[in-house]
């Protein structure tokens, strides 16, 4: 049995598999010729073990549970704290957005949402605008220097955020950029560089070069080629990178918690934390809290429904190739 793992037998295995797939007649007659080569061939459906059936049932249960949880959270946001606590499974009696109004006005979620939208939008846009040309250069110019540079950018992928927390705070404090959304934006841009450059370099490499070469032959400069040929071709990848940054900046908590102190500059996650902490003193406002959670989650849900497959591909890019 262990011989099956050896290279030699693997090649024979592959050869026989290929003949099987192309449907050519080999020495052993294939039993059911009609269903060969397609994904639903009998060979692939052969295992109907009880274990597998259990697995399928469990998976669908997980799916149902996830959807129920999400809907449940939305529902609770329309109920008041007392009825939530007395019957956690109850349905809202009305769709009056009292909790949202209260969270919006009392809990400072309005300012926080505004800050989050601005910060997320600006920093993601600038991140991609800076990373795209860099990634283009790194993907198109060969040589040891470029390799070293690529490495330099990618190094940051392995550094946990808590490492830079204290030095960043000290440095920004010296130039009066702590407790400032401008400072936070700058930090987000710097911290996002490794992943964005990594993703876009891989993406630019996957683009065909023929059109760029044709443009060069027609006398277009390298800059013009980049702007007129490569960028339009790379629209999809750049949008993916942008949306992935939007998601990560929207959810970023540790840096914002450290660098922002005044309430009117809170981003959503920081406002949510402060809302949770206030409850210790002012009594639980679960209705308002659920409304706050919805404000954090819903934009992500909308983006996911809008661009779902693209995001999964972006986040798993390279893993499956």
């Amino acid at each position: 049995m262990s011989t099956l793992n050896k290279p030699a037998s693997r090649t024979t295995m592959r050869r026989s598999a290929k003949t099987a797939a192309t449907g050519e007649s080999g020495p052993p007659k294939r039993p059911r010729k009609s269903a060969s080569g397609t994904a639903s061939s009998p060979a692939l459906r052969a295992d109907r073990s009880p274990l597998r059936t259990v697995g399928i049932v469990v998976l669908w249960l997980i799916v149902a549970l996830s959807i129920v949880m999400l809907l449940w959270m939305l529902m609770q946001a329309f109920r008041d704290t007392r009825s939530i606590l007395s019957d956690p499974w109850g349905l809202p009696t009305s769709l009056a957005p009292d909790n949202f109004v209260r969270a919006w006005t009392v809990g400072d979620f309005a300012t926080a949402t505004f800050n989050s939208v601005i910060t997320t939008g600006v920093s993601s846009l600038l991140t991609v605008a800076l990373a795209a040309p860099a990634a283009y250069y790194l993907s198109r110019v060969a040589g040891r220097f470029t390799q070293g540079l690529t490495m330099y950018f990618i190094l940051g992928l392995g550094i946990p955020a808590q490492v830079i927390l204290i030095p960043l705070f000290v440095m920004l404090n010296q130039v009066y950029l702590t407790d400032s959304l401008i400072g936070l934006n700058l930090v987000y841009i710097g911290v996002s560089m490794p992943f964005t450059v990594f993703l876009l370099t891989a993406f630019f490499r996957s683009l065909p070069l023929e059109m760029e070469e044709a443009a060069a032959l027609d006398g277009a400069s390298a800059l013009r080629t980049f702007v007129r040929i490569t960028l339009p071709l790379a629209k999809g990848g750049i949008l993916t990178a942008f949306v992935l940054e939007v998601i990560s900046h929207w959810n970023e908590t540790l840096l914002a918690l450290t660098l922002i102190q005044s309430t009117e500059k809170y981003t959503l996650p920081v406002a949510l934390i402060s809302f949770v902490q206030q409850q210790t003193y002012s009594g639980a406002d679960w209705g308002g809290l659920f409304a706050g959670l919805c404000i954090v989650v819903l934009p992500m849900l909308i983006i996911y429904i809008w661009l779902g497959r693209r995001l999964t591909e972006g986040l798993t890019l390279g893993m499956g190739k």
Binding site: P133, I154, L155, P160, Q162, L165, F198, T316
Partner: protein, 326 residues
Amino acid sequence: MSEVDANAAVDTVLLADGAKPAKAARREAGSSIDRQRKKLLIPFVGPAFILYTILFVVPSLAAVWISFHSWSGSGPMEFVGGENYVRVFKDPLFLKSFGNTLLLLFVVGIAIFVLAFAMSLVLRDMAGRKIVRSVIFFPHLINALVFGVLAGFIFNPGGIVNTLLGPLGVKEPPAWLAQENIFPLIMVTLVATTTGYYTTILMAGVDRIPPYYYEDCALAGATAFQRLRYVILPLTWDVFGTCAVLWTISSVKIFEIIWVFGGSSGAGIPPTQSWTTAVYTYVTAFSGQSTPSYGAATASAVISLALVSVLVVVLRRAMRRDAVEF
């Protein structure tokens, strides 16, 4: 340290980029557009390079520097050599935090991997796999704060779990949110919310196995286990490696969910039983409860970085096998 990281990064690049990193470049070497492109170095790479260096690389190096000093954030820094490291390793709070980080890394990591792999095997050819896949991926896009807050509600004394357990005859449900139970509960929550993401990645690996291998297995009469052992595992091995590296890097930063899990204790700081090194770093530097000790806080952060680096290198070594071409 940096060399170690660089090695890991090279491997990541090679792994991610697969077969042809240099082909594109070689084809056009020496052409005039190539020469022109080289002139773009400063305008194209410059801005990204400067921001990244100032806001990421310099702070990382500064962290190592600060960790060798005694400093409270203001006033003079005093060089103390490795004293901060000795100090944190004598601090029971740090040891608890470090132990928790290791628990997240290994126990939660292994649970996630076993479950994710099992799920990707079931998902491989089931009906409705796309729906399942998109639903289980979604938690990855949600701030972990949300799960922390929700768990607080679900496991509240009068919360969902207890109202469900009541009719089942459980008269005295465990005190879910008692200090000693919080961390295990956090671990379970993390497994529940993270497995979907890794399943999605593993599926990308399982999906690229050409169907004729499975047919061949069926023709050769291989059992389900043999097919797993000799076809699926060897052909997805590199994806496993990538996932392991990803989990190592992301588990060490876990902070948000612990910060708010189960609501908050009075002081706005989670109970020490559930701290991780990230929480330790933050509290030691910024809690405002005692004199901030930037030296000890950065020492804790640098230890996490060392942990990541060592593990990534070990993982790359351990997972290195002859790439199976197919």
